[in-house]
């Protein structure tokens, strides 16, 4: 019953994951998560299911990592498929608000693979804008994306500008606002009819982190040093007392 409930939750549009990304060091957008370099270390990580309109289709369980800094929002989508088709794409449709209706999505960042897993494998990053659910190519390309297939696991990385797009063909992501992001999966580069699976997440673009007052940090750190040095000193005194009493016992024994 729990399994069924979980399955239903994962496969319904009703539960929309709300993600609050943390600030972190910008990762290199190359489709590779370099753990030795602590890439995506501060990312908020969620598991969602890309669902199909076909109710018998189980969908694709994906891991979505979200992170941001002052200039960009970083989204990584990772999943495994038994067989990846030679053509595959992952797209991120961005709404102008929290609204999740089809008309609300105005911007699309897509990474399209060709000859995936074969000789001549290549991918293309595409920037589209949407009008009444129709896709139109942007005149200027904004953002960045890359992906890499490793065995059955594929890693997509997207970089989307925050608070700095003057292009009317792009969604303007403002600090402190929440936006709906629709993750789409498909194969052939037909971006309306080729969408096979999708799901929506809400991402809140966080304000620039105000750095704590340096003086307060300094006071806090000094207090910590004093406290733990004091504790260390008291502990050392206690150890000394144990040594003294040990000697006393030895003397009494003699």
């Amino acid at each position: 019953m729990i399994f069924t409930a979980n399955f239903l939750i994962n496969n319904s549009h009703a539960v929309i994951e709300n993600i609050k990304p943390d600030y972190g060091v910008a990762p290199e957008i190359d489709g590779d998560i370099d753990r030795s370099d602590k890439e995506w270390l501060n990312a908020s990580k969620e598991n969602i299911n890309l669902i199909s309109s076909n109710p018998t289709d189980k969908g694709i369980p994906i891991e979505i990592w979200v992170m941001q800094n002052n200039s960009d929002l970083y989204i990584s989508i990772q999943f495994e498929l038994e067989i990846h088709k030679t053509q595959e794409f992952i797209g991120i449709l961005i709404s102008d608000s929290e609204a999740t209706s089809n008309e609300s999505f105005i911007d699309a960042k897509i990474l399209q693979f060709y000859n995936l897993g074969n000789i001549g494998e290549r991918y293309e990053y595409l920037d589209y804008y949407l009008l009444n659910d129709e896709f139109f190519r942007d005149q200027e390309l904004h953002g960045e994306a890359a992906a890499k297939l490793d065995g059955n696991k594929i890693v997509y990385e997207f970089k989307i500008p925050v608070n700095n797009s003057d292009d009317s063909q792009d969604a303007f992501l403002d600090f402190g606002e929440k936006y709906a992001f629709k993750i789409i999966y498909g194969e052939t580069p037909d971006y309306k009819n080729g969408i096979k699976k999708k799901n929506i997440v809400l991402i809140e673009i966080e304000y620039k982190k105000k750095k704590k007052e340096n003086i307060w940090i300094l006071v806090h750190n000094i207090l910590c040093i004093i406290i733990f040095c004091g504790l260390g000193g008291l502990f050392a005194l206690y150890i000394y007392k144990i040594i003294v009493i040990k000697k006393k016992i030895r003397r009494v024994r003699e």
Binding site: D22, L41, N42, A43, S44, K45, H220, L223, C224, I227, F228, L231, G232, L234, F235, Y238, I239, K241, I242, I245, K246, I249, R253
Partner: protein, 142 residues
């Protein structure tokens, strides 16, 4: 008669020495663990590791992991307190004096100051340590 009395005295002394030895051993072992948890507390509650949370930093930033992170921070302080009070109790037994309330409160205070970086850790430590004291009191009574 005097010979008999002397033998009795010797017997009681030879019985007392291993007992003291055992108590001293307990004092040392408990103090060692208290020291270990004090060092751990320094890392978890005193250094910059605190800010990100060692678990969250290396595992996953999720509420469950955050709870685990706080639990570790509180547990480290509570365990340090527990071992320290056991060690102190045994030490006091060696000196022949009981542990005074002000000494317990002093240790309690020393444990609480370790929570300087977080109100959550402070609150849970404030709850957990009296429970430990009460538990030790019950054991003492029984």
């Amino acid at each position: 008669m005097p010979k008999f009395k002397k033998e009795v005295k010797k017997k009681s002394e030879s019985k007392r020495i291993p007992e003291e030895k055992l108590i001293l051993k307990s004092v040392k072992i408990s103090a060692f663990f208290a020291g270990v948890f004090l060092v751990l507390s320094l890392f978890f509650n005193g250094t910059e590791w605190y800010y990100e949370g060692i678990i969250i930093k290396y595992v996953k930033k999720e509420i469950y992991w955050e709870i685990l992170d706080y639990m570790i921070k509180v547990s480290v302080i509570v365990l340090e307190f527990s071992f320290m009070i056991i060690s102190l109790g045994n030490y006091k037994e060696l000196t022949g004096k009981p542990v005074k309330l002000k000494e317990i409160l002093f240790l309690f205070g020393l444990s609480l100051v370790q929570t300087i970086r977080s109100l959550i850790v402070f609150i849970f430590t404030l709850i957990a340590i009296p429970i430990v004291i009460f538990y030790l009191y019950l054991i003492q009574e029984s």
